[in-house]
Symmetry: C2
Subunit: 206 residues, 2 copies
């Protein structure tokens, strides 16, 4: 199902390329409009008018209007799974996850302005806030699966792996919010410090 079909679809040209062009253009237009007027003040019809596609087609690209916004989140999850899949052997699960989160951290720093805008947009709408609050369940399971495949002796149902992933992404979320909220001067070392809690627990003194 997956790999072969994916590859052949990538190779085939022109029709699929045009499709991809339209998709990208749609995302760009939508984002510009969202930042200009706010998420709730932009209709699907507005986006379609500028992109020059039919509303019916929009919903073939994106199951929901919301999905245009949550695209970057999916991309960040992809960075994690890619990193896990490509990491050298012999590392502990905790080290693997920490390294992956650091990589996403670097991505965030590199795209700070863009992601800060995403955060602003996401805060405007009630529905978006939930979507932006964490890693979507689907992606989370994917991460657990990949991590499990790199961890001999631990199945993907192992609660320790699942807790590790949930905590790692949770820690990242806290850092992410602090950083984009402009509360951090030296972001990456702070992320390291926070990730250390995965191995040592949370250092709450009192």
């Amino acid at each position: 199902m997956g790999a072969a079909a994916e590859r052949s679809r990538q190779i085939t040209g022109l029709r699929d390329r045009k499709r991809e062009q339209n998709r990208v253009k749609t995302v760009e237009v939508a984002w510009r409009l969202f930042m200009e007027r706010g998420y709730d003040n932009v209709t699907v019809a507005d986006i379609c008018a500028e992109t020059e596609i039919a509303p019916r087609t929009f919903h073939r690209y994106f199951a929901a209007k919301e999905d245009v916004v949550t695209d970057p989140i999916r991309r960040m999850a992809a960075i994690v799974t890619d990193h896990l899949a490509g990491a050298p052997a012999g590392l502990s699960a905790t080290e693997l996850m920490s390294a992956a989160m650091r990589e996403v951290g670097a991505f965030v720093v590199a795209h700070r302005a863009w992601l800060a805008a995403l955060r602003q947009v996401a805060r405007q709408s009630h529905q978006l806030r939930a979507a932006h609050a964490g890693v979507p369940p689907e992606q989370e399971r994917e991460i657990v699966r990949t991590l499990a495949s790199r961890s001999p002796g631990a199945g993907e149902d192992d609660w320790r792996l699942r807790v590790l992933v949930v905590n790692a992404t949770g820690v990242f979320r806290v850092w992410y919010d602090d950083y984009l909220g402009a509360r951090l001067d030296d972001p990456l070392p702070r992320l390291d410090e926070m990730l250390a809690t995965l191995a040592n627990g949370v250092p709450v003194s009192e």
Copy 2:
């Protein structure tokens, strides 16, 4: 603003009592229908027909159809904040959160059948899955605030507190899913074991 108005509203009777009756009845009807036919196959109009209220009134009670379902989640978050607010002094933040999560755990065990049904319903719809995936941001902040007020020397912006809360609720979520998925024979001790990772880190060997 809050306390006085709240109290007077509680005392005043008849009109507000009827309102509350209707609200409760609406929730009951909605839940029965959801479990019978599935979330997506029940319209707001269906619910209103049996509850004998106008659709317009339904949306005065609930901002969204979804809110009828996510009500129990809010109740669990309330258990946490209540516990934190009423706990004896002198405990560490980690101990406070662990105890709170154990209490919610007991609640879940006591209402297992009901919550398993909730889980089923929540899995049916794409939108609901996101809502059910974790503690809503609003409630999460509330928990952090309450915890901070019980933790001398730690503001509500302290990243350690926020990480603690995120991890505690994350651990709980993993346990919750395992338990309602019927994968646990001895749920509460397992929850204890999982909560221990808050203080000691995740015990992933390899």
